[in-house]
């Protein structure tokens, strides 16, 4: 019974942890959307800033990956 309860908590926790991925989605969308808005205003400057775009996306995404990692840890390692 206790094992079952722990398993239940584990799964619920893993599911909750994946909510964090939504935040990463919002963040990445924000970065990309703002980049596009800026790029349409000044297309000539856009090409030089793609590196910055990818770095920004990477930072935003990393946090989502952290929550995914928590979910994986709960599922497989706890």
């Amino acid at each position: 019974m206790e094992g079952e309860l722990a398993l239940l908590g584990k799964y619920i926790g893993a599911g909750l942890a994946t909510i964090g991925l939504g935040g990463a989605g919002i963040g990445v969308g924000h970065v990309a959307g703002n980049f596009l808005a800026g790029a349409l205003r000044n297309p000539s400057a856009a090409a030089g800033q793609t590196a910055t775009l990818f770095v920004g996306i990477a930072f935003a995404e990393a946090l989502g990956i952290f929550s995914f990692l928590i979910a994986l840890l709960l599922m497989f390692a706890v």
Partner: protein, 251 residues
């Protein structure tokens, strides 16, 4: 594994593909044991040699296809190092190129069905990130001496805020290798696990398994993009970090 323990429904083992096992026999994994890690890293080396050495052996002025690809990689990373790190950073170009080629080819080789993705292991990415972290720290102190610490002292901020900012900068500096490595490993692991989960669905759905198979095809395309983008991101972050050590810290 939970599903195994309870013997219920789907038999999906998304993590099996990441198991490190010896190539020969069933013995324990010692530090010197040739494992599937060894095999796929060796294949990555062969791929690097084939791509960058064999294809350029004719040194043609008018390049063949293979040589064009090699030159494309060279020019891409060379420009990235020069643009991001500055002219001084070109000294570290072979180092950055090594990281990029290894990460890129490991990601791509990992997408071959039944293969083993070395870069999906935290052990590998953590070592890569720590190497970058140590390089940046040592090069920074070597080139700038104690002045390297000025990076944490944001002189453009109000004086009262500076200690707080310094603390935040310091923490973010030490979190760098963590996020640097988890980002790469996590992305790769997630993509491969998702494909495996879909494949597990396909196994039990009979005729309707066309849906998860189409899903796998779509995710596979996405994973190719992710493999390239993550290699790019890993490399450009390396360049960004190197700039702190090599170039002007504030610009």
């Amino acid at each position: 594994m939970a599903t195994e323990e309870h013997g219920s429904g789907l038999q999906i083992h998304p993590m099996d593909q990441f198991v490190v096992k010896p190539l020969f026999g069933d013995g324990p994994v010692e530090w010197y044991t040739p494992t599937n890690v060894t095999l796929w890293m060796g294949i990555a080396i062969l791929a690097v040699v084939a791509l960058l050495v064999l294809s350029t052996r004719r040194r043609a002025i008018v390049p063949s296809r293979g040589q064009s690809v090699a030159e494309l990689f060279y020019g891409f990373i060379h420009k990235m190092v020069e643009d991001v790190t500055g002219h001084e950073g070109l000294k570290y170009f072979p180092y950055v190129m090594t990281l990029f080629m290894f990460v890129f080819l490991s990601n791509m080789l990992g997408l071959i069905p039944m293969s083993f993705t070395t870069t999906s292991h935290i052990a590998v990415t953590a070592v890569l990130a720590l190497l970058v972290f140590l390089t940046v720290t040592l090069v920074g102190f070597y080139r700038k001496g104690i002045g390297f610490l000025a990076m944490f002292w944001v002189s453009s901020a109000p004086l009262a805020l500076r200690p707080v900012l310094a603390l935040i900068e310091l923490i973010s500096y030490f979190v760098r290798p963590v996020s640097h490595s988890i980002r790469l490993g996590g992305n790769l692991m997630a993509g491969h696990a998702v494909i495996k989960v879909f494949a597990g669905f396909a196994g039990v759905m009979g005729v309707a398994s066309i849906v998860p198979i189409a899903g796998i095809a779509a995710i596979y395309g996405l994973e190719i993009l992710v493999a390239a983008v993550q290699a790019y991101v890993f490399t450009i972050l390396t360049c960004v970090y190197l700039r702190d050590a090599v170039g002007d810290a504030h610009h």
